[in-house]
Amino acid sequence: MDVFGSFTLLLAFACAVYAFVGGIAAIITRHPLLVKSTRQAGIATCVLIFIGTFSLEYLLFSDNFSQAYVVSHSNRDLSAFYKIAALWAGQEGSLLFWSFLLAVYVISVLIAYRHKNGELMPYVGVILAGVQIFFLTLNNFVESPFKILTAVNAGGVLEPFVRQDGNGLTGLLQYPEMVIHPPNLYAGYTGFTIPFAFALAALLARYPGEKWIHLTRKWTMIAWCFQSIGILLGAHWAYAVLGWGGYWGWDPVENASLLPWLTGTAFLHSVMMQEKRGMMKVWNVWLVFCTFLLCILGTFLTRSGVVSSVHAFANSQIGPWFVSFMLLTLVVCFVAYVKNHDYLRSENQLDSLISRESSFLFNNLLFLVACIAVLSGTLFPVFTEWFTPSRISVGAPFFNKIMVPIGLAILFLTGVGPLLAWRKTSTDSLKRNFTWPVVVGALSAVLAYFLEYRNAISLVCLFLCGFVFWTIVMEFYRGAKVISARSGMSMMMAAHELSMRNTRRYGGYVVHFGMMLIFIGLAGAAFNTDVQKTMNIGESMKLGPYTLVLQSADTKPEKNYTAERMIVEVMKGNKQLMLLYPEKRAFAGRDQQSGTMVAIYSTLREDVYVVFAGMDPDTNLPVIHAFLNPLVKWIWLGGVWVVMGTLLALMPNRRAALVIAGATQPAASAVAPALNPSVTLRERHD
């Protein structure tokens, strides 16, 4: 199976090269057979990558310990669930997984558009094949996952060698979220290849800017959604497994995942400027180019070990390959832009500084500043090594100081944007639209103050959350009121109808609502407290309003690890709330491999987060480290809303005919005749 897997990847490489070279020939000659054959070569490349990936999974599931990758990342006792995850646990497997996910996107595009966009698709096919060639080069010639295990025999000759068991999967990865977090993040990274390919293809084909935007809107949102889920799951994993009491440590790899998300988010906003006003065409093309390059950079940072990280499971010498690919991509993009940028000129003018357009410009500015600040902070240790004799670290305190004001400014614009009209907003309209959101924001801050959240930054954040919340409520209320008046629907039904008529716009508001919830959660971080104590059985410690009593300790043997558990009772006053089981796990397979499992009592108000920090070397008693983390649950709830909002935005709009049908109902008949249905429908669709 290893030879078969190797062979399929090699064949995939050959097919990708043909799709690339043949595709260029097809663009030049426009020969229909050549176009068709290169498209089929593209599909064959993807199918072969799938087979190669399944071959590696087969080797993992069949415990084939003649394979170096299987030995390094699996063992006999590893559950099937984690054998799937072993695919991306190491360098070689994760690069193959990148190719696999990219192939899923590529084959979807090639099949979905096989009868459409006949002139553009050869360009798209060539670009996608180019990206696939890069990753297949790594899979085949640099970091092959199908290397057999060898050992030097008595005669000093290398010969195949079969181990009885493997080293097992690293303990940090043996957690359910690790089976879904990396695929989501990678699906985000790889997904941005599609808008990139269409943007570059449209530029090369000299299409005026708007066309590729329409074609790739959904692909961009899908990639963004996966990226968001991946980031949030990663944060939750860090919170629940690493045991340091936080969810975001500004680790280089966390930062790497945030970078394309920031530019991708900027793009999702600025694209509206192009659709509505024909503006920012150059900017949007470069945002997509940068997002793709940042995805490659993210993979490079994760996999090369150029900056040290808790995620640096696999360090190797693939750095020069990634740097070369990024430089080559940048050159291609730049040349394409220089040659054809005339077709990307803005065709509209800005009427006023106080307008929706300006708010999008400032929104993009903030996202870009955030992105560059995180990028330069992440790479600063590398720069210091180049320019000074020593390396200077940049940790979480730096990023918190830099990013908090930027984050608050973005939150402010999240509220302001929907209140501003396209083209120009009058002073009266400003007063009318801003009054209630500001009042609700102020009330939120006052409420937070009385609930003891007394920190200036947190209060500003909660004020802005109230402000944003009310702008979203107002948007739904105004739209639903019109529909309700015309159709006689209840307000709830009308709000639902409204959302379904313009899914993108109202899905966007749901995403904003989710982000607001996440910011509420982030505001709580200023009030985190913790206590650490060496405890005997029966002893207790105070943590805010809670009392933690160490009830007992036990050992729980499992198939692939043995857990040493502390049983901690959480009490508030005299009321027992919950038993928590923080544990330490000693994993089979790897020597000395161990990990923590945090126990959390979570409410909307706060999390009681308990870690079994080990045994005190002096007393040989357990050390319990407990954290009281306010409002953390809001972050995970916000994440759910973000995903729901994106899914809503991905749904097709309900047909306008339904509205006209609704308007025939008696309750609406008094209002409807005076209105021209088509005008009424269009006026809110921005």
Partner: protein, 166 residues
């Protein structure tokens, strides 16, 4: 008189009992505050006071050292110097606001200022742009001042519409 003396004695006993506890708490807070400014040197990249991963070979020793220096009454600058001497500049959790490291702090501000100036420049340029009065006035202009004809743009647009479907 006896009553006052008793009260005084009681206050003294309480103070003698409480003061060490207060001092201990203050020292613990100081260890936490100063420790938050350094990284654990085991390679995990976490803040010293937050690093608790299993098998860490560094954080316990570093915290012990820090505790000793704090108990001795060393200033933050002295402690920082001692840590930097022992582990190098990689021990900083955030770059110092001096020398080359100042660039790290200055750059985000520079990005924002330059970006804001650019945005304002773009806005002012877009506001000055004349309304599309005719075909030629609306025609996009290249950076070198060459005008692409509206006809060419429309031809491109028609080609795109013909060759693509949403």
């Amino acid at each position: 008189m006896i009553k006052h003396r008793n009260l005084f004695a009681l206050a003294l006993v309480v103070a003698l009992g409480v003061l060490p506890l207060v001092a201990q708490q203050q020292q613990a807070d100081r260890v936490k505050a100063i420790g938050g400014k350094f990284l654990c040197m085991c390679g995990c990249g976490q803040i010293l006071t937050q690093c608790n991963h299993v098998g860490c070979t560094m954080s316990a020793g570093m915290l012990k050292e820090l505790g000793q220096w704090v108990n001795r009454g060393d200033s933050e600058a002295t402690i920082t110097q001692a840590f930097v001497q022992e582990f190098g500049t990689t021990v900083y959790a955030e770059p110092p606001k001096s020398g080359f490291s100042l660039i790290a702090w200055a750059m985000p501000v520079v990005y924002f200022v330059v970006g804001a100036v650019l945005v304002l420049f773009v806005i002012s340029r877009w506001r000055k742009r004349p309304q599309a009065a005719g075909v030629d006035a609306a025609a996009p202009v290249t950076a070198s001042g060459v005008r692409i004809s509206q006809e060419a743009m429309e031809r491109g647009r028609a080609q795109a519409a013909r060759e693509t479907e949403d």
